[in-house]
Symmetry: C2
Subunit: 431 residues, 2 copies
Amino acid sequence: MKKILLEENEIPKHWYNILPDLPSPLEPPLDPQTNQPMNPEKLKALFPEALIEQEMSQERWIPIPQEVLEVYSIWRPTPLIRATKLEEYLDTPAKIYYKYEGIAPPGSHKPNTAVPQAYYNAKEGIKKLTTETGAGQWGSSLAFAGQYFGIQVKVYMVKVSFQQKPYRRVLMETWGAKVIPSPSPYTKSGRKILQEDPDNPGSLGIAISEAVEEALENPDTHYSLGSVLNHVLLHQTVIGLEAKKQLAKVKHYPDIIIGSVGGGSNFGGLALPFMIERLSGDSCTRFIAVEPYSCPTLTKGEYRYDFGDTVGFTPLMKMHTLGHDFIPPSIHAGGLRYHGMAPIISKLYDEGLIEAVAVKQTEIFKAAVEFARTEGIVPAPESAHAVKVAIDEALKCRETGEPKVILFNLSGHGLLDMMAYQKYFEGELID
Amino acid sequence: MKKILLEENEIPKHWYNILPDLPSPLEPPLDPQTNQPMNPEKLKALFPEALIEQEMSQERWIPIPQEVLEVYSIWRPTPLIRATKLEEYLDTPAKIYYKYEGIAPPGSHKPNTAVPQAYYNAKEGIKKLTTETGAGQWGSSLAFAGQYFGIQVKVYMVKVSFQQKPYRRVLMETWGAKVIPSPSPYTKSGRKILQEDPDNPGSLGIAISEAVEEALENPDTHYSLGSVLNHVLLHQTVIGLEAKKQLAKVKHYPDIIIGSVGGGSNFGGLALPFMIERLSGDSCTRFIAVEPYSCPTLTKGEYRYDFGDTVGFTPLMKMHTLGHDFIPPSIHAGGLRYHGMAPIISKLYDEGLIEAVAVKQTEIFKAAVEFARTEGIVPAPESAHAVKVAIDEALKCRETGEPKVILFNLSGHGLLDMMAYQKYFEGELID
């Protein structure tokens, strides 16, 4: 069997919350004005209460609302696919599996959290959500989700991606969203940055500042973040929970779990449910987070309190960071251009439970083309980071002869990233 | 249940060949040089023997080779989806189902025939396949298929699509194919047309002439056609055979079956397996073929012998045709810009077993956006023709109160067609 499928009624009914299981508690977010632990009340200007509760919950299993399951069922459960043709091509004894999240209409794992975020906001009477997007995967996912709950979505899109990926903008508009290139002249944050540098290519940090500013200034508007926060990783655990059920059907358990990391949500979504056995000592699975060489948050960043955005509107979070004023180069894996890292992933990395690798973009496109020419699916540049390291690990197995079970997250397809492939073929990509 | 899934081992093991069941036999193809029935021997310059046999076979069930099933399993079985959210939006008692073929890596139903065509050619020692493509869906599917059987693929792409859809070209190149805009200076056919009109936007007919010419002149090269021919419709019946199994699971049988038609293969693929009951008198299902208003082959064409290509290399086929020198306007549903129609579909239409409707492109984009905003999937412009008529029929059910079962083929997604959506939003599309 190439694909291991689940029935619609096998979609998990709960998300897995790792907070109570962490080896040591997460450090609290700090109020940027007082440097004291954040008063949850103050977060209500940005987030609905249900999400603020989830952000700090000590409940291990959190029920997925029926309304969310119903929208999930448009594309979930996603297939777990055995990479038989890639294994053959690599001549490896490794068993490579990938969880394919690109099957969602927006083409990535992002709607797993966009849908519940739109749902909880609508339930508390919010009419409009602002957000930022890099490559457009998050923005299109929130646009997609918003329409099911009557939420108007406004997306600040990192300018370099807005220019490189016009198709994504139209996709967001098709789902009814409004899209603004960031930095924009419509917010104080945007205007300040444009004054200093009119050609600023933008970054996720700047776009977050703009989206947060608009939400803070409008009472019927909330803000929605597509990665980094605890509740985002929580919602993404539906990936790993499904993958666990699927692997159990073929009586396999992963020796190595691999995911790309920008803010940490697709990696966390796949990895955290498997961390249960690792934390309890029942497995010695290796967890590998793969980041871009040009934005090496885990491998080169410091583990300290920092802002989530560029201007300094968000609470300070204890995380691995390259500094909130870091502007990553305009690499094509736009979704991974973020200065920080999810506090949960940062903590697990700090505790030695996660390894990190930084890879160059020419290497990841080489791996992506090998994958497309064997498995058939064209990976998103972000997901290709995971493909690259899965191939590396499978080749190590060829050396050692070990039939390891490798599981990675193919978090999205690259059909809207063909321009980046073109540049790769034309030798125009630099590392 | 929103999605009705099948297990991998439920992929049909045979294709359904309608030839022995037609109310009267198909008229034979004629040799363009003699106007006499074509000698199958002469087709061997273009096609492998296995496909020539399938083209004329009187066997009702033709086994799908194991090697083809293995590649099918990359994405098949495809889901049958109940359009619950569209039904709700339309407030209709109709039960709308769609078979979603966009889940294939190239994003459409086309690999259903590309894979067996590449397989049979490789089995007979062919190293290279030439073909034409309109929107790029067929070319990318053959590129995808070729790589599994060591076949080099060269694609003549209709120039207007080559320009409008650069992403598709890169996709074909990612899968290792070579892509040439047609009309091109590399063939006699292309040079002749360019001399008469250097700005000729191209058409499927011209691109076929170029691809056929190259195959005729090179003994190790065959030609591959993505629609129209009997063996192509045969391979596509995997769609309808799966849909039948899926509907049986929910104890439904379609009252109306809808598909878009260019050459006729996606419509035929869904419809023909359901034609069995209609031909035997066991059902009175309506079959509706939807074509573009600007290329109205069934509704306005004549039923007579005509060439499959523009220059006149192919055998003459009895079919509905707008004339082999018809150049359709550059509408965005590039895959439907063809002057002729599959002989099987033409015959069934002539016999009154199929209805046809021609729809305008602004109408189909309106329907496509309604679909995207309810069901979540952004349809290819080609597939949106079927969406439009499915909506129309569902609205009729709202008038009459009849809970009809409507089945249509969502033959592909539109993620590589966002430029067309952009033009629609900007009011630039004309009918």
